[in-house]
Structure formats: structure tokens, C-alpha cells
């Protein structure tokens, strides 16, 4: 491979120093006071953007450890997105690749990022029916993510840092007023919503599938039980209503 032009060699030395000043010396002939402007501006910019998305991680780890993590991220990670909103996602990916970061922190970071991701999910363009027939039409979910974690990430705080594995199911969704909400689910409701999230089954069809999976011979029991759950979800605005349009139909 041909050697890079001098100006690009300089540029790469410049950014290598900004990313990791302890390992890479500044390019020769650049005033340290001036170089410091870039070191500080870039680190602070990353720090502010990332910290804004992960307040609980920051609180749980403490400022020193948190800063160290972001330093490692800036030094080692090639962020691929030009879109600022997606920087926290690249931080989550970087964290996931760090072997010395505990699994509960990785899960918490993912959960904190989901709030941002859900706030920007596209809205469904399926038409809502006038009546809310959750059983015989297709229940329409608000923009959402269904999440399964090994830890009760939604309860983590400085005072509560779970170390034992507790399967945790969450629905994170955006309500009609653009606020992001979460609901803790049990495993069965999680499964029901997973079936419904394809937006192809009516409530009755989804509950029938669920009854089969649960080995319940009398589907009516599950349908009755599930109807109550669907109405609760409607009240909480996790369901927007129902539609007769199938998401897979063209």
C-alpha cells in the first residue's frame, strides 16, 4: 500500500493523540495549550452526549469509574454513525465488548439506551378501527420494544444493584403524548406481546397460539384471562386500539 500523504499522516497522529493522549504523543510542533483545547472539547463532548443517556449507570458506577469507561470508549471504539442520537448505541455496543464490565451494568446500559431508541421509533401507519375490538381485530401496539434481561434493570439504583440473575421482562413503549413508559411483564404476557408484536394476529388468534404453547387444552380459559390483560394494556396506552389491516399485507 502506498504511504499516506503527509497531511493525512499528520491528521491521524492528531486524532490518535486526542483519543488516547497517554499512549500517543501529540504531533511534533503543535503547542500543548492548543492541543489541549481539542483533547478537552472532544472528551467533554463524548462525555456529555453519553452521560445524558445513562444517568443511572453513571450514578451506580460513580463519576470516576464512569469517566474512565468513556475514556476507554473514546480511545478504543470507532463510532460508525454520523447521527448524534446514535452515539449512545455505539457506547452500548462498546460496553458489551468490554470483558471487565459486569453483566448487570451492560444490561442496565442497554435498558437506559432503549428509552432513547423508543422515543424515536417510527409510528405505525396501520389505520385504527373505530371500535376497540382487541379480540377479533388485530391489537395495535404503540411504538415499543419488548425486552428480556437477566437482571431487574428497571429497579437498579445506587442502593439496589442486583447481582443474582432474575429473568426480567419489560415492555417499553411511547404513549400518544410522546412520553416513554415501561411495564414489567410476566413471562406469559411477554410471550403474548411477542406474538402480537408481529401485528398479524387478532387477540383471539394470539391467545389461541399461547394456549397451545402452554399446553392448555381449553383455549377459552386463556382467552378470557388474556382479554383482561389486553384491556389493561389499552388503558395504559401500550395498545393504541385495534386494526383490521395486517402488517404483512401489501
Amino acid at each position: 500500500m502506498a504511504a499516506l500523504p503527509a497531511f493525512q499522516q499528520y491528521q491521524l497522529a492528531f486524532t490518535a493523540h486526542i483519543r488516547d493522549p497517554k499512549v500517543h504523543a501529540k504531533p511534533a510542533g503543535v503547542a500543548n495549550q492548543r492541543m489541549a483545547v481539542y483533547r478537552h472539547a472532544i472528551f467533554n463532548n463524548f462525555f456529555n452526549i453519553v452521560s445524558a443517556c445513562f444517568p443511572v449507570c453513571q450514578q451506580v458506577l460513580g463519576v470516576r469509574a464512569w469517566k474512565k469507561l468513556i475514556r476507554r470508549y473514546v480511545a478504543a471504539h470507532a463510532a460508525k454513525t454520523p447521527v448524534f442520537r446514535e452515539i449512545p448505541e455505539s457506547f452500548v455496543a462498546c460496553l458489551a465488548s468490554m470483558e471487565d464490565v459486569p453483566a448487570n451494568i451492560k444490561a442496565l446500559a442497554h435498558y437506559e439506551w432503549v428509552e432513547l431508541a423508543v422515543s424515536h421509533l417510527p409510528a405505525s401507519n396501520l389505520p385504527l378501527s373505530v371500535q376497540h375490538d382487541l379480540l377479533d381485530e388485530i391489537p395495535l401496539l404503540a411504538p415499543h420494544q419488548l425486552l428480556a434481561y437477566d437482571y431487574a434493570v428497571h429497579n437498579i439504583s445506587r442502593q439496589f444493584i442486583p447481582r443474582d440473575i432474575t429473568p426480567t421482562y419489560l415492555l417499553v413503549f411511547r404513549d400518544p403524548h410522546f412520553a416513554v413508559q415501561f411495564i414489567e411483564l410476566n413471562a406469559v404476557t411477554f410471550r403474548l406481546l411477542s406474538i402480537l408484536s408481529k401485528q398479524t394476529f387478532t387477540g383471539r388468534q394470539a391467545l389461541t397460539i399461547l394456549a397451545e404453547e402452554l399446553g392448555q387444552t381449553d383455549a377459552q380459559v386463556i382467552i378470557q384471562f388474556g382479554t383482561g390483560i389486553l384491556h389493561d394494556l389499552l388503558t395504559q396506552q401500550a395498545l393504541l386500539g385495534s386494526t383490521t389491516s395486517n402488517a404483512n399485507a401489501t
Binding site: A6, Q11, T15, A41, I42, P143
Partner: protein
């Protein structure tokens, strides 16, 4: 349909914090001098929910300019074509007639992988860099099917391998790329202090016929000879004087106030917009006065 001719007078950079006030004061005569707004595609590409709702609100009410931050025209990694195509469809979807970018870079190559640093870094002013950047601007214009404007950027570190000064570099790139100039008045001043040159002499060498758009802003004085382009304070008098001189030399052009931090309430902030309008009125409002010959050739791009 917005066209370049709709971008005129004075404008304000759109910050999230300002959105509720914009909505509150919409059509209030006190903010009448805000004739257009500017957004960074990096903040708005692919948004949903509340942000999409707000973006649509503005797109329906104000002419908009896109001022990019992450195209990395001077970057060592390949131009992000995928991103550029997203910008193109964004411009077309919201009928945004002008896209501008910085004469700088914000990305590098880490362990063989391209990565972003999200800040405006100084390109060494060398002959090779002129050709390299000009080629990437041309490539950008080819992909977008429209001419872009390139902004003179504020810098803090002089590059020891530079073989020319900033104005020579800027002019060489503009000529070779055959692009427009997005003239940042405050950046001329900031760099004149940071690198000890005469801001007015710099301004006099600007190719006025390429100016389509400009910025004005405040900055932070770290030391008497080091200014940081924070957009966090009021515009200072020497910068207003430079704007005045630019209008006198080149005719007026649309000018946007950048305010990114320490943002006063809109009714206060608008006073600086009014000042821009007052300077413009002094010279008669000629939108994009000198851009016509370049616009004519754009049809061929």
C-alpha cells in the same frame, strides 16, 4: 417549495431548548426578523416521536437550511456515501434548498476502521489537501445533484506542516471544487486572534461572488490570544464590524445567528437577529447578491 431565494434576511439556528418558545411566539411581530431556521442533519435524520412532530412543524412554517457537522470533507476515511444519500433524501423530503458543511474533518481511522470524533478538526493547509478536499466536495455535489456551500472553520492549533495560510487554502479549495462559500464571520475573527492575522485583510480576499450564506456568533475568550468558538455569548462589536464590512464589500447575504449554549429567552435573543436585519437594511436587501452566475451553471451539475 422552498428555493434558495427563500433563504434571505436573518435566521436562527434551531436548538431543542428554543422550540417551545418558537411555537409560543410564532407570528408575533417581535420575532418577525427570524426569516429562516437552520438545522444540522446529524440532529434530525431519522427522528421519530416528538422530534419528528417538531421538525414537521418547522418545515411547514419556515424556510430551512441544513448545516452539516459530520460529513468530514477533509477526513482520511472514505466519504460516507450512505449518509450523504440520507442527507439527499432529507433535503428533498423537507424541501431544504441549501446544504452547507465545514472545511474541516471530524473522523479518523482507528485500527483500520473509520470512526467519528464529532468535532471540527483542522486540515493541514497543504497543496495535496486542497486537491483531496476539493475532490470530495465535487463528489458530494455530484451525489446530491446540487452545489453545496463550504464554511471557513474556527481552529485552535496551527499545523506545523501547513505550506500556505488559511485564506489561500480556502480560496484554492473553493476554486478547485467550484462550490459556494458559507462565510462564518465569527470564525474569521476567532482565527485572526488565535493565529495573529488581520481579520479585515482576510475578509477583503474572500471571493464575494461565492458567498451564499453566513453565520455570526459569540465566542469565549480563554486567554487574550486564544478564543474558543462556543456560540455561548453575545456577538462582540469587532465581529459586528466585520459583518458590516462584508455587506459593504460584497452586498448583503442571508445571515444566521448561532447560539448553542447559555441561550437567553427568545425575546432577548431576537435582539441580535434584529441587529443583523438592521445591518442588512443599511445596504438594501439583496438576497444572495452575487450568487447568480454560479446558480446559472448549477443546472449543468
Amino acid at each position: 417549495m422552498s428555493t434558495l431565494a427563500d433563504i434571505q434576511g436573518a435566521g436562527l439556528g434551531l436548538k431543542r431548548e428554543l422550540i417551545p418558545q418558537f411555537q409560543q411566539f410564532y407570528q408575533d411581530p417581535h420575532i418577525a426578523n427570524i426569516q429562516f431556521v437552520e438545522i444540522a442533519p446529524e440532529n434530525w435524520l431519522g427522528v421519530g416521536g416528538k422530534a419528528l412532530h417538531d421538525l414537521t412543524w418547522f418545515a411547514e412554517r419556515y424556510p430551512m437550511v441544513c448545516h452539516g457537522l459530520c460529513l468530514s470533507l477533509g477526513g482520511p476515511d472514505p466519504l460516507n456515501i450512505d449518509f450523504l444519500k440520507q442527507v439527499k433524501s432529507f433535503l428533498s423530503h423537507y424541501q431544504i434548498p441549501l446544504y452547507t458543511e465545514h472545511l474541516s474533518y471530524c473522523s479518523d481511522i482507528q485500527h483500520g476502521e473509520a470512526g467519528y470524533l464529532y468535532d471540527l478538526l483542522p486540515i493541514p493547509f497543504t497543496e495535496e489537501a486542497v486537491h483531496y478536499v476539493a475532490q470530495r466536495i465535487r463528489q458530494t455535489q455530484d451525489i446530491l445533484g446540487q452545489r453545496i456551500a463550504v464554511e471557513n472553520t474556527s481552529f485552535y492549533a496551527a499545523c506545523p506542516i501547513s505550506s500556505m495560510d488559511e485564506i489561500t487554502f480556502l480560496n484554492a479549495v473553493l476554486t478547485e471544487a467550484d462550490c459556494w462559500l458559507h462565510l462564518d464571520i465569527n470564525n474569521i475573527y476567532v482565527n485572526s486572534v488565535n493565529f495573529g492575522f488581520d481579520a479585515h485583510a482576510f475578509l477583503q480576499q474572500i471571493p464575494g461572488e461565492r458567498i451564499v450564506y453566513s453565520h455570526i456568533a459569540g465566542h469565549y475568550q480563554e486567554t487574550p490570544n486564544l478564543l474558543i468558538d462556543t456560540h455561548g455569548k453575545d456577538v462582540i462589536d469587532p465581529v459586528w464590524a466585520l459583518l458590516d464590512e462584508a455587506y459593504r464589500l460584497f452586498g448583503t447575504f442571508p445571515t444566521l445567528l448561532e447560539r448553542d449554549s447559555n441561550i437567553p429567552p427568545l425575546p432577548d435573543l431576537v435582539k441580535e437577529i434584529d441587529t443583523i436585519a438592521a445591518y442588512q437594511n443599511r445596504y438594501g436587501l439583496l438576497p444572495i447578491a452575487k450568487a447568480t452566475p454560479l446558480q446559472a451553471t448549477l443546472v449543468a451539475v
